[in-house]
């Protein structure tokens, strides 16, 4: 029996997805640990539990494509292929960070690596993706843009405006709403009217669907179709990837925030991928053990290298305001 497209993608990409998801998890757990030890500055929003959405969407991207991301965007950046060392450097405020230490955790950016960047303003990057897509098409660049944003951004005016503009322009853009159930500290359902977020996109005539954001193969397939449509000149698409935020809004919030949600134990997207691979006949325990060992070493090395870096030279505080 021939494999379904999803099974075939799992066969081809499954081990690499697993590696990237493990890398993201380890990267974020390392940050949680650093925060606890008082070794991080600023506010850090972790993406643990949301790895499958980032990896599934970025799996179908090409070098020239661009993503925009959010304050909770480490997973998007790592899934896009950014270097963990330069990410750690940026988050630690070191000279060798992607932004020279001027962006930090919420604002990692690497346009030359296909990630125009994270954005500290909820919804702020959504119209940028529309413009990037428009520019790519206009300049004949055969590239698409992906806007990652959260459920909170779906209540911003610029979200609706951007969807409208993208539909009118038939811009080659894919909107990916990562619905993790919480708008900062407030349950999304409590502040979001209507049937669903995905239904909001449909009214603009944009192909829109909800996806289990914790099943990487399903995300990859849905995103792949959206990317294909965009590349073929079919305009924008919209995905609502339903996932779970395992951690708080940000690390350290328990210092002031009373508990605001029930304990829960969502299925782990990494374990779900392992199960899928096991079902497809892979020796998952061997694979996972080797990925774990390699990625642990890589993350440890990246962190050590970042920690050994100097602070940015003070004159950098006065540079880059204007071209």
């Amino acid at each position: 029996m021939p494999l379904t497209p999803m099974a075939s993608a799992l066969e081809t990409h499954g081990p690499e997805w697993l590696r990237t998801m493990v890398r993201i998890r380890l990267f974020e757990e390392t940050l949680a640990d650093l925060y606890k030890r008082g070794e991080l500055v600023g506010v850090v929003h972790l993406s643990i539990g949301q790895e499958a959405t980032a990896v599934g969407v970025c799996s179908g991207l090409r070098d020239r494509d661009q993503i925009t991301s959010t304050h909770r965007g480490h997973h998007h950046m790592l899934a896009r292929g950014l270097d963990p060392r330069r990410m750690f450097s940026e988050i630690l405020g070191r000279a060798g960070g992607y932004c020279g230490g001027k962006g930090g955790s919420m604002h990692v950016s690497a346009p030359s690596e296909g990630a125009v960047g994270a954005n500290g303003i909820v919804g702020g990057g959504i119209p940028h993706a529309v413009g990037l897509a428009f520019a790519a098409r206009t300049l004949g660049r055969d590239a698409v843009a992906v806007a990652f944003f959260g459920d909170g951004a779906a209540n911003q005016g610029v979200f609706f405006e951007s969807l409208n503009l993208a539909a009118l322009w038939r811009a080659p853009v894919v909107f990916v709403c990562e619905n993790n159930g919480y708008t900062e500290f407030t349950p999304t359902d409590a502040v979001t009217a209507g049937e669903s977020i995905v239904s909001r996109a449909a009214v603009f005539g944009i192909p829109a669907r909800g996806v289990d954001g914790d099943e990487v193969a399903a995300v990859e397939q849905a995103a792949g179709e959206a990317l294909e449509l965009a590349r073929a000149g079919g305009g924008p698409s919209f995905l609502e990837c339903r996932t779970n935020r395992w951690r708080g809004h940000h690390e350290g919030e328990e210092s002031y925030a009373k508990p605001y949600r029930e304990p829960f134990a969502p299925a782990d997207p990494i374990e779900r991928l392992e199960q899928a691979l096991r079902n497809a006949g892979h020796d998952v325990s061997g694979l996972r053990a080797s990925i774990d060992a390699e990625e642990r070493a890589r993350i440890a090395e990246a962190l050590a290298a970042a920690q050994a870096e100097p602070e940015p030279p003070v004159e950098r505080a006065f540079a880059d305001v204007f071209a």
Partner: protein, 328 residues
């Protein structure tokens, strides 16, 4: 003697802005125009462009300031050079996150990885009972927002050259133009004017008057009137607000020893306040009288014609201020 061809056939300010855009569009296929009713060009800067460049490059947008400015930020990062006509510059308030937090910040926050060659053009100032939400001059807000260049031409010559300078700049530039000056006549001279330049006209020896937009016009008219009273006024048109021509401002005060700073915006934290502070800090020794700021009182621009006229500095207000600093 050989006749030097005028660089632009535009005889009025708004068409000179449009001609400046058209030059850039002809030279550079990456220049696109979009915004509110740009194929008609309601306020003038984009009028006629759609005829030459078509609806593919001159694009009418929904009234979604945040999205079309935000899309321009993305398009600029992606390699285009968008010119966004936001119609009234008061509408920048609707798009302030995209202007201040995004266009004005991303180059810095990314450590210089991106350039944002974006122009936003909008009318600024009171032009006959448009009331508070269509009549403001937001230059001080934009300057304080940071990361954005701001120019405010008051003649066709300034408009033609500063618009081109704005589009060719790799930074976000806000081009303000006064709705009462759209049909102002004047020749476009061949000597280019650049971002950061001031225009001294007329030169004078008794008092320096610093102004932009309609206030610069009124200052020039006041200078003509005061010349009949044997008062020699030097008008420094600060048509580039960022970069601000600080040395030209100081040089004028060093020469005259007296300064009137006029602003068609609220006095508190105004551009006039910035210029006055600069003079006080760096040219105090040259001053023969206190610096005089003449601006809109801290009220919105009212609707009724007599009320509007009561809050916007007039030519006579400027003349009175000049006489006062001469007495001081």
């Amino acid at each position: 003697m050989m006749e030097v061809a005028a660089p632009s056939s535009a005889k009025r300010l708004a068409p000179a802005l449009a001609d400046g855009i058209a030059r850039c569009m002809r030279d550079d296929p990456r220049v696109y125009v979009w915004g509110e009713d740009v194929t008609i060009g309601v306020m003038g800067p984009t009028r006629g462009l759609a005829d030459e460049f078509g609806p593919e490059r001159v694009i009418d947008c929904p009234i979604s300031e945040a999205a079309f400015v935000g899309a321009a930020v993305g398009a600029a990062i992606g390699g285009l050079r968008p010119v966004v006509d936001i119609m009234f510059s008061s509408f920048t308030y609707v798009a302030f996150d995209q202007l201040v937090n995004q266009a004005g910040r991303l180059r810095y926050m990314t450590g210089g990885q991106v350039a944002i060659p974006l122009v936003v053009v909008g009318s600024a100032g009171a032009a006959g009972s448009n009331a508070a939400q269509h009549s403001e001059v937001p230059s001080a807000l934009l300057l304080h927002g940071g990361g954005m260049r701001v120019v405010f031409p008051s003649t066709p010559h300034q408009a033609f050259w500063l618009m081109q300078g704005a589009i060719r700049s790799d930074d976000p530039v806000i081009v303000l133009h006064h709705p009462a000056l759209g049909s102002t006549r004047g020749a476009v001279e061949p000597e280019a004017l650049a971002l950061g330049d001031a225009v001294v006209d007329p030169a004078g020896t008794d008092v320096s008057v610093f102004a932009t937009g309609l206030m610069a016009h009124r200052a020039r008219a006041a200078a003509t009137t005061l010349a009949q009273e044997k008062i020699s006024v030097e008008v420094v048109d600060v048509c580039s607000l960022n970069p601000m021509p600080r040395e030209a401002i100081l040089a004028s005060v060093e020469k005259t020893g007296r300064a009137v700073v006029v602003d068609e915006a609220r006095l508190t934290c105004s551009v006039a306040s910035e210029i006055a502070a600069e003079i006080a800090e760096r040219a105090f020794g040259a001053l023969q009288a206190p610096v005089h700021r003449l601006a809109v009182p801290d009220v919105p621009i009212p609707f009724a014609p007599n009320l509007e006229a009561a809050v916007v500095p007039s030519e006579e207000d400027i003349s009175a201020a000049v006489r006062e600093v001469l007495r001081g």
